[in-house]
Amino acid sequence: MLELRGVNAGYGTFQALFDLNLDVKGGEAVGVIGPNGAGKTTLMRVISGLIRPSRGSIKMEGVDLVATPAHKIVSLGIAHVPENRRLFSQLTVDDNLKMGAFMKEARDHYAERLEVVFDLFPRLKERRHQMAGTMSGGEQQMCAIGRAMMSNPKLLLLDEPSAGLAPVVVQQVFELVKRIRASGLTVLIVEQNVQQVLKVVDRAYLIEAGTIRSSGTSAEMLASDTVKEAYLGV
């Protein structure tokens, strides 16, 4: 479904990704783990078009994303839940969800999508007229994921969904990810919470200093010495 080949990317003169290859197949849940500053967020941003690769190719179902304007990428079926959620904090939950359905294809099915999202997150329905910024961290994460789901994506990019949340809420977020998976959506998830993320994904990539260090199934990654020593503290 998603295919990255030899991608270099960065900000100005600072290069964050080096010759990176990555694949996500339809129906899979794939994790990307690695330390702070390894390029995980850059990877997400380069896929959704927020930054452009300086070299390499990115394809979604055969369509070249590098040649697609950033605001058109969402209509190819890629929804990105950015790091720190980035809700429109002074808009209501309803308005935030409305923004998720901005593109034409989603706008036509706005009412249906709202139903789907409220089914997934009944909490959001209760809070629909509340300013997004006044909700708890967990509720805001729900709203951010719900906003992304409004576009009826095929591929959901989740950037550190558990960051800054209380341990109990982190559990809930990973439960959510499981439920989203079960609904048939393909998920690419970046996480520092390695133990948790390996429980919900099929495969994972370990990224360090902008390149893929290793990859494998969740079981393989859990068993790998590099992962164990560096990230699981075993």
Binding site: S48, H71, K72, V74, A79, F88, D95, M99, R107
Partner: protein, 295 residues
């Protein structure tokens, strides 16, 4: 007898001035809304905002007086004309400077102000022109109200309600509110930020166009007519808190009342002096505007 009669007359004048203040406030609020919209969404101050109104007033003058088009046909055409002008201003002047320091943007729109004034002077001359439409004066008891002011007030309110509905009910309006909070992630919503800025600028222009249609009923048009309400519009926006729509709305009526009531005790010019003095005092008391959030 003497004293009582004086008080009766005084009260009537006072009430008349209060009502005239409210009527004036409507049009000022319309102007403030347009300027606040541009500032709040694009984070740019259109110093030349009142000059767009001036061009719109000329548009009305020529269509109605020169080509004999009816006022009610000329008005939507003028709104459209100034909307296009607003979009062009964004596309040609603001967009290339969007990442430049604010002072550059300020200087650039300041430059546009002089360009538009000079353009009007060269093209239309410095004569004062008016529509030649004399609207009746409405007598209500002992009070007199100009029909033009009443019409302007109602039209300004209708315009503001229309903007409110557009901003809250439509996807594009919601995007305009969203983009002012987080521009970077708009692409993730499938929103082309450039297009939203262009639409916002056209909307700001349309509001200036509507104001032009209303002001041309009450004031003569000349190349420097923008100076009569440009500065006051800025004071209103600053007092209300730049970019704060509700603050701007309230400040419009506060200023209009000061001007109108101040004018009651002596002449209209003193009303303006009082309004500016009030502004200076307020800037010491509430420097971030009437409705500033306490941080």
């Amino acid at each position: 007898m003497g004293m009582q009669a004086f008080l009766d007359v005084f009260d009537i004048y006072l009430l008349e001035a209060v009502i005239n203040g409210i009527l004036l406030g409507g049009v000022l609020a319309l102007l403030a809304l347009g300027l606040n919209l541009i500032f709040g969404v694009i984070d740019v101050t259109w110093i030349c905002y009142a000059e767009l109104v001036m061009i719109g007033m000329y548009g009305m003058y020529f269509m109605v007086q020169y080509y004999g088009i009816s006022y009610f046909v000329a008005a939507p055409l003028t709104i459209l004309l100034v909307a296009v002008l607003g979009a062009a201003l964004h596309y040609l002047v603001i967009a290339p400077l969007l990442t430049a320091p604010p002072i550059n943007q300020l200087l650039a729109t300041g430059g546009v102000l002089f360009v538009l004034q000079s353009f009007a002077t060269v093209t239309f001359g410095i004569d004062f022109r008016n529509l030649g439409i004399r609207l009746p004066v409405l007598a209500f008891g002992d009070m007199n109200f100009s029909y033009a002011r009443l019409l302007s007030f109602v039209a300004a309110l209708v315009g503001m309600v229309a903007v409110y509905l557009f901003m809250t009910r439509t996807f594009t309006g919601t995007a305009i509110r969203a983009i002012s909070q987080d521009r970077q992630i708009m692409a993730l919503m499938g929103v082309d930020a450039k297009r939203i800025y262009l639409i916002t600028s056209a909307l700001g222009g349309a509001l200036a166009g509507l104001a032009a249609c209303l002001l041309v009923l009450q004031y003569d048009v000349h190349p420097f007519v923008g100076l009569s309400f440009g500065p006051i519009t800025f004071l209103i926006c600053v007092l209300g808190g730049l970019g704060n729509f509700i603050g701007g709305f309230i400040a419009s009526f506060v200023f209009a009342e000061i001007i109108s009531l101040g004018g009651l005790f002596s002449d209209l010019e003193w009303g303006y002096v009082l309004a500016f003095a009030f502004f200076i005092v307020m800037m010491f008391i509430r420097p971030a505007g009437l409705l500033a959030r306490r941080r």
